[in-house]
Structure formats: C-alpha cells, structure tokens
C-alpha cells in the first residue's frame, strides 16, 4: 500500500491514532474511494508522477493520506487547477478528486469546460447527494423529497432536480471514458476499482479525459448506519443515477506536448525583432532635432480610412529616425460610431503627453472630423483634409496652414481606395517636413515586407500626395 503514507503526519500532526486513521466518519464512502484510488495508482505504477488535486469538501484533506504530489484547490476550481498542472508538466498524472457540491454546483463551469477540452486528466466525482463538510445541506444531486438542512421539508423540483453529471459529461465530445459506479456491495466495489484504474490509465496512455462518478455513502448526514446508507444508495439513489459505462470511446493516444522552447533566435523572430544596424539604430540620436517641444499629429476619419495604420507608420518612422514617438488609437466614448482617431507624438528625447488634444498637424478624412478638430489646432499648425469628400471645408481658424488634398481621388486614380491614407501621409510629409521622405518610404517597405506586391501602389499614393502639395506651393 505504498500510495498511502506510512504515517499520516499531516493528520493532527500525526499524533496518536490520527497517524493511522482517516478523518472520515465511520463507514464513509470516501475511505473506500481512497483505497480504490490508491490501489489504481499502485497498479499503474504512477505514484511518483501523480498530482492529486484536493477539493473543498470532506475530502479537502486527501493530502493527509496520499503519498503523491498534492495541490489543494479552491471550491469547485479543481479542474482548472488540474489543467494548469497538466499543461505545465504533461508527464504528470493529474487526478481531480471532487465532491458533488464542489464539482456539480460551484464548479460546474470549470467541470464542463475541462471535460470538453478533453486534455487527459482524471476526475473522480464522489456523489453522496449531500454537502458533508458544511453540515448536511442540499446538494445539486440531492433527490427530490430528500430532507437536508436547507431543504427541511424535502427537495422540491423548483429547488432544482438531481443533476446527472455522468450523463452530462458523457454527452460532451471531449471525454473518452465516463462511468458511474457505486460502493454499496462487493460487486459494485470491484467495478469501482476497475473503473478508477481505467480512468487513470486513459490519462497515462495519453488517450484523453476520463470521469468516474462514485455513488458514495455519507452515513452521518443521512443519519443512518453505514449499512443502511448502502441500502439507501442502492434503492433510492441508483434508480435516479443509473450505474454503468456512459461513454467508452476508443481513441489512439494523442496527447503529446512539445518541450518548452527557449531558443533565443526563435523568440526574437516571434517578437518581430530585427538585428541592430549600426547606421541610424533607432532611438539613439535624432538626425533633425525638433527642438524643445514635441510635435503632435491627429489623424481623424472613419473606420476604413486607415488613420491608425498611417499613425503607426509615422510613429515607426520617427523612432527609426532616432526620435521618441508614441501612437495611441482613439479611446473612449468618441470611438463609437465607426469613427477612428489616431494621436501621434514625436519628441527629441521623450514624449510626455501621448494624446494630441491640441495637434500641431491635423489630417481629416471627413467633414465631421475636420469640423470637430480644426478648432483645436494651435496657431502655426497645419490642417490637411480630403478635398475629394470635403467640398466645403467651412470656416477655418486663422493663422493655420490649410490644405485640401484629394486623398480619395488619388487612391481612386490608382484603383485602390485603401491607399488614401498613404496619399495623406505623402501630403503630410510634403507640407510639414516632419520627417524626410526616404524615411517614410523605408518604413513603408519594412511594414509591407510580407506583402511586397502592394508596395508599388502604396508608394505611388505617397508620391501623388507629395506632388499634390508641391503643386500648391508652386
């Protein structure tokens, strides 16, 4: 009996009889299920690999007895804890041992979702039709008419009808093996031991999730002797909770997890990191200092205008140029209704305020955006708007440079409506000289390196945007 400790040190500090007896009431089914579980672990030779998830309920102290790795879980959460263990060490044999309150009431969501995931863990469900640990309250599996401390006149159907968990679990696609067993006579006990062993074997062989429901005696709260509790299970519970195999799917072993990888090259590639070049290695020293003040840009339009992409492109280009830069998408109530605003800041050393409430440069893709943000552009600022869709810009503030550029028209001319944001960027570059044009183009190439076929039309839009502004100058 090696899976039980020789001494139950954790039970009452191992003093006196606590060293060799359980904390369970006389005749409690938990003891039998424990012996079955211990025998199954022995038979399969997996004691060293076993991690037992102890529930909340009378069996909260299973770790007093089982000489295996033990983790005690919060009420109902054992399957989630088990998955954490199993995914961390796929070689471990993880067994959830749970009662009816734990598994079928507070932990129902964790139970069902773990079963449906099908990851090989083994769940032993002790159904005794009552809450033992808290003192005889109604369980989700209590029978109709059963008197408990919280159903003193007997359970009425509106309090919920007894939940047949094994059938519920068997209905799911995840599990490979589901059986309901009992402990009330020698024959049932043989079956119980066999079922528990098989359920663990399913895991050891990597075949899948297995579930064994054990109809178990709680003589204390049935206010019965152990022998009449056995009788009650046989005559009262079994008709509602029929015994037998509910699911036994033949599944080839499939659960095999790759080893965790710590290969630095793979990690860097996944992060999208590029080796440092010794040229203008981003963020070191800006080539064209902006001076003490940072510059802010607001790009405002509706969802499909590409304001965010353009904003990110400016930020990336600025960082590559050696500046500090931030981009932040519109956030909060004004982002509702399909509008999309991007705030960009560029600074020599450090961007303080990342939001552009008073943008030096405004790019407006539609009339409402222009009307809304033009007044916030401070004196000396630049306002660019899409003159294809905004025919009448309305009254604009003085002492700002106001440029209508046909972003949409340029894109339409290229037969690619998507690139109007690049037309806008080209116009912004030409109008403000915020960053040199080659920097924008280089960043564009980097961003599109996985879709090189789209590069020419984007470049063309950028150039057309630039030309449109240059033409105005001329």
């Amino acid at each position: 009996m090696s899976t039980f400790y020789d001494h139950f040190e954790r039970h009452g500090h191992g003093k006196g009889l606590a060293d060799h007896t359980t904390h369970y009431c006389p005749g409690c089914g938990h003891g039998l299920a424990h012996r079955d579980l211990a025998a199954a672990i022995d038979e399969l030779g997996v004691q060293d690999r076993t991690v037992l998830i102890n529930p909340v309920g009378c069996s909260v102290f299973a770790y007093y007895y089982f000489d295996v790795g033990n983790t005690q879980a919060a009420h109902g959460r054992a399957p989630a804890v088990a998955l954490g263990h199993k995914l961390s060490n796929p070689d471990s044999v993880v067994i959830c041992y749970q009662g009816d309150g734990d598994l079928a009431s507070i932990g129902l969501a964790e139970t069902i979702s773990a079963a449906q995931m099908g990851v090989p863990i083994t769940v032993i469900f002790i159904n005794n039709g009552i809450y033992g640990m808290t003192g005889g309250q109604m369980a989700p599996t209590s029978l109709i008419g059963q008197r408990t401390t919280t159903s003193p006149n007997g359970r009425h159907p509106w309090m919920g009808q007894p939940l047949r968990v094994a059938e519920l679990i068997a209905e799911l696609d995840g599990p490979v093996y589901v059986e309901r067993v009992a402990l009330y006579d020698a024959k049932q006990r043989f079956r119980a031991r066999k079922a528990i062993t098989k359920a663990i074997r399913m895991q050891v062989e990597g075949r899948g999730y297995a579930f064994v429901e054990v109809l178990s005696e709680c003589p204390t709260h049935l206010k019965a002797t152990a022998v009449s509790a056995e009788e009650w299970i046989r005559t009262q519970m079994e008709p509602i909770f029929p015994l037998g195999v509910k699911k036994d799917r033949v599944v080839e072993p499939w659960f095999k997890r790759p080893a965790r990888s710590f290969d630095p090259e793979t990690v860097l590639a996944l992060c999208g990191a590029e080796p440092a070049d010794n040229g203008d290695g981003g963020g070191r020293a800006p080539r064209h200092p902006l001076g003490a003040r940072d510059r802010s840009v607001k790009l405002a339009g509706s969802g499909g205008d590409g304001a965010q992409t353009a904003g990110l492109l400016i930020a990336r280009a600025a960082i590559a140029e050696g500046f500090d830069a931030t981009h932040i998408p519109s956030y909060g109530p004004e982002s509702r209704g399909g509008t999309s605003y991007a705030d960009v800041h560029i600074a020599d050393l450090e961007v303080f305020n990342p939001s552009a409430s008073e943008p030096d440069i405004l790019v407006a893709f539609n009339a409402p955006s222009l009307a809304r943000f033009a007044p916030s552009v401070p004196e000396g600022g630049v306002i660019l708007y899409d003159s294809t869709v905004i025919k009448e810009p309305g009254e604009m503030p003085y002492n700002r440079r106001i440029l209508g550029v046909p972003f949409t028209g340029i894109a339409a001319g290229l037969q690619r409506p998507m690139v109007k944001n690049l037309a806008a960027l080209g116009a912004l570059q030409a109008a403000t000289d915020l960053l040199p044009a080659p920097r924008f183009l280089e960043t564009l190439r980097e961003v599109l390196k996985d879709k090189p076929s789209t590069l020419p039309v984007n470049e063309a839009a950028f150039a057309a945007g630039q030309r449109a502004v240059a033409g105005m100058r001329g």
């Binding site: 879980a73 998955l83 964790e110």
Partner: protein, 478 residues
C-alpha cells in the same frame, strides 16, 4: 456491461488472504460484517479505550480468505490482508505500521532549487509596439510559456499575441471558461513551479480575486497584468486607475498583499512584466502589473533586454515526479495556531517586500517645492506639466511611484524636506493619494498640504489641468 465473474480481481496478491485488523484503526462501521459470507466478523461488544469506538471482532475459523471484508473497509489501515502484515501474530501489539506492514519503497532524493538560466540575446533594433504586446514579450523573455485568460477590452491584445507566439515555443495559451477558471489554471501552473500569467482588465480582475487570495495563501507565484478601465460595474473601456485600491488593499479575502508595479511607458510594460516574474518567484507570491487603458493601447519604442531567461524549477513545486512527490501546495491550516503562524510568516514576507522592493522614479525632485505625485500614463502628462511649470519659474518635480504597494515612502521622504506642496494626479477618486497618505502616516511623516488633480470615467488628467493644479499651489501660497 462486463459480467461480474469476468472482472479481474483487483487485489490479486491478497485474494486468498485472511484478514487482519488492528482494533485501534477500526471505526466500527460494520461494512465488513454485512459482507462476510461466512459470518466471521461480528459487531464488537467493547468500547476501545483509545478511540471511544467499538471495533468489530474477528473469528476466522470459517474464513475462506475471500477478501470481501477487506474490500468493504473504508480505512486505509483497517482490515488488511494478513500477508501484507509482516509477522502479524508477533506484531499484533505494535502500533507502528512501518514495522507492522514492512518498510515502504525508498523515496528519491529530495528536490533542490533548479535556478533560472540567463540566455544572451543579440542586439536588436527597437520594436515599435503597443503596451500589451510589450508586456507579452516581457513575459516570454522572462520564460513564461503558460498564459491563461479570458477576453476583455482593453487587455485582450496581449492574450492574442500570446496565442500566436506560445504554440511555437512549446507553450500554451488557454482561453478559459471565465476569469475564475483562468486564475485557477495559473494556480495549477504556479503550483507545478512554472511561471504563468494572465492579461485582464478591471471587471475580470475582480473575478480573479478569489484565486489570488488562494495563491497568496498557498504561496504560488503568478503575474497579473491588469489594464485598468473605467468602473464601477461595466463602466466603459476608457483608461482609469481605480483598481489601485483592489490591487493594494483588496486582493480577495484574508491577509493578502502583492507587489503592485505601475509602468508608464510601453518600454516599462516590458521591463516591469519581466521583473514581475522574478519578484513573483523570489517571494512565492503573485505580482500585479497595473496599467491603464491608454498604456495598454499606446505604441512606442521598446528595446529588448540583453538577456532572456529559461526558468528553473523551485524545490517546493508539485511537479509530478519522484523528487517533488512529498510537496504540498495548500492554504488550509485547520489549527488556529498553525494558521496564525502561517499569517505571521506572510506578514514577515510583506515586511521584507516593503523594506526591499520599493521603487520610484523621481524627476527634478532635488530642489522641487511643488511635488507632483502620479503613476502610469498620468505620470507622463505630469512630467510635461512639470517641464512647463519649470519654464514658468515654478520649482516643480515629479515623484512617480513604480511600486504602488509597497509605496516608495523612503524615496518620497528624501524628497520632502524642501517641498511645500504635494499635488496628487490620478484617474481615480483618490486611491493613489490614499496609498501615499497611509504610507506617510505609517512612517510618522506630517506631509505638506496635499491637493489633487483627478479625472474619472475613462478620462485622464490632461497636461493643462495638471499645470493649472501646480499653479494653484502658488496662488495659495501668495
């Protein structure tokens, strides 16, 4: 169903054994009496003095060794096959099963701490990524390969990136059925001794608090990145800082604390997430990284560190092998004195964290007369306001707590002697200020006048508002 006679005998070694019973270990439940076909077992007649229970009596003359009684006994040391009991007859009076039932298999060597290993990274260009991505990458570089989460705006992109990266690194991202399940998966992974994390936002963080209390109680590490949004209730998805109270004072039930880190740039989202894993394992305690909604979404330059980590395995982990078999992760201490002792140990840990892990980033504090206190994104606006105030001739400085719990009171104390006024800037109804006031009070410091600049509901205090707050202190003084 398989007929009964075809069932393999689950106790082959004991099949033809007669039973043996040490009366002290019998609870007198009579399950064995009922099952014996030969009537060999009878209800006892005498109370056993040590237990106060009435053990059964065995008269084995007619016994055929069918083993049914043994199969009926719920007690591990109750009815047992005679053959397992070495020298049963002579040993009858012995109480020690080591002698009674023979020595058990020898245990393997006890587990040792396997330390983490640093792996050099080649020098790379700065990434231009948003805060949640930076945090995810920080976690991967810290060696985290297990992420459990539930989608919630504005933190989900971190989880999405993990879902993309981890399968290629032999890790797992699991979208749990709820935040409650997610935190408990972290509990399991942490109990197994591995780094794990989640991305969440305020309502999700609320749901995780039960699990966090269990993790603290059972001393399980794990990193929680909470990108705070507007509350209470469903609130909105705008940036707020109103979970400071939860993170610093409300981590579920009981005597709980966790280090709370407050990044203010995408770079710090990476650096502090990495750091959070180290701290989490150093103290065997969860660590909370609190960001605001802005920070989660904000894109900026992020440089990668020179090294990444391959995590080790702590000696205490319930890994699932021989070396770790005797380990137990649990937060239940039935005896009051045991639980008190456990709490005192936790208290000592919190005190050590308080003494050793305070972090702050003071900016122009050396000669500041007006000290602005702010963290997360509002600290950036505050820095801008401090700059402008300086240009206007006001000796302003910024004190930015990087740990909010423990509050960096030692550094604040250093800055205080020449400070005439504290201005606390936050997107919360005073939760940061409460942390500061509590820390001041515990340190026995009487602070100068404290005023505040606060916004709520998903709006951050703007630079102009903070500047106005700084200027107001000057008017008061005139």
């Amino acid at each position: 169903m398989v007929p009964a006679q075809q069932l393999p005998n689950p106790m082959p070694a004991t099949a033809r054994d007669r039973p043996f019973l040490e009366p002290a270990y019998c609870k007198g439940c009579l399950r064995c009496v009922e099952v014996c076909p030969k009537g060999c077992i009878a209800p006892g007649t005498a109370v056993f003095p040590g237990t106060g229970l009435i053990p059964v009596e065995l008269r084995l003359d007619a016994c055929n060794g069918c083993g049914l009684c043994i199969g009926a006994c719920p007690e591990p040391f109750g009815l047992r096959p005679e053959s397992e009991v070495a020298h049963a007859a002579e040993a009858y009076c012995l109480k020690d099963p080591t002698e009674l039932f023979g020595e058990k298999v020898v245990d393997g060597p006890p587990s040792r701490d396997q330390p983490a290993e640093a792996i050099a990274l080649e020098d790379c260009q700065a990434l231009v990524i948003k805060g949640t991505y930076a945090s995810a990458i920080g976690a991967v570089l810290a060696g985290c390969r297990h992420v459990f989460g539930y989608p919630i705006t504005p933190s989900t992109e971190g989880a999405e990136l993990m879902a993309k990266m981890l399968p290629k690194l032999g890790g797992a991202f699991v979208q749990a059925v709820s935040e409650v399940a997610a935190v408990n998966m972290m509990y399991g992974a942490g109990a197994a001794g591995l780094p794990s994390m989640t991305f969440t936002s305020s309502p999700g963080f609320s749901l995780m608090l039960e699990g966090i209390s269990y993790m603290i109680g059972a001393e399980v590490p794990g990193v929680f990145v909470n990108i705070m949004r507007g509350g209470p209730g469903l609130g909105n998805i705008g940036p707020e800082q109103a979970d400071i109270k939860l993170a610093c004072r409300g981590l579920g039930h009981g005597n709980t604390h966790a280090l709370v880190l407050a990044p203010s740039t995408p770079q710090e989202m990476l650096d502090l997430t990495m750091e959070a894993f180290a701290l989490s394992f150093r103290y065997r305690n969860p660590v909370v990284v609190l960001g605001d909604g802005y920070l989660g979404q904000m894109t900026g330059a992020v440089r990668l560190p020179a090294r990444m980590l391959r995590p080790g395995l702590p000696a205490w982990s319930v890994w699932g092998d021989r070396a770790h078999r005797t380990n137990l992760i649990c937060s239940i201490y039935l005896a009051e004195e045991d639980l008190e002792a456990h709490n005192l140990r936790l208290e000592a840990k919190y005190a050590a964290i308080g003494a050793d892990e305070q972090r702050a980033d003071p900016y122009r504090c050396e000669d500041a007369r007006v000290l602005v206190v702010a963290c997360n994104t509002p600290a950036r606006m505050a820095k801008g306001a401090v700059e402008t105030a300086r240009e206007q001739g006001i000796a302003a400085g910024l004190f930015r707590p990087v740990t909010i719990w423990p509050f960096p009171i030692d550094a604040l104390k250093e800055a205080l002697p020449h400070v005439d006024h504290l201005v606390v800037v936050e997107a919360s109804p005073g939760q940061l200020e409460d942390e500061m006031r509590l820390a001041l009070s515990h340190a026995g410091i009487t602070p100068p006048p404290i005023t505040s600049v606060r916004r709520l509901g998903g709006i951050l205090p703007q630079q102009s508002e903070i500047l106005a707050g700084i200027r107001e202190t000057q008017e008061v003084r005139v």
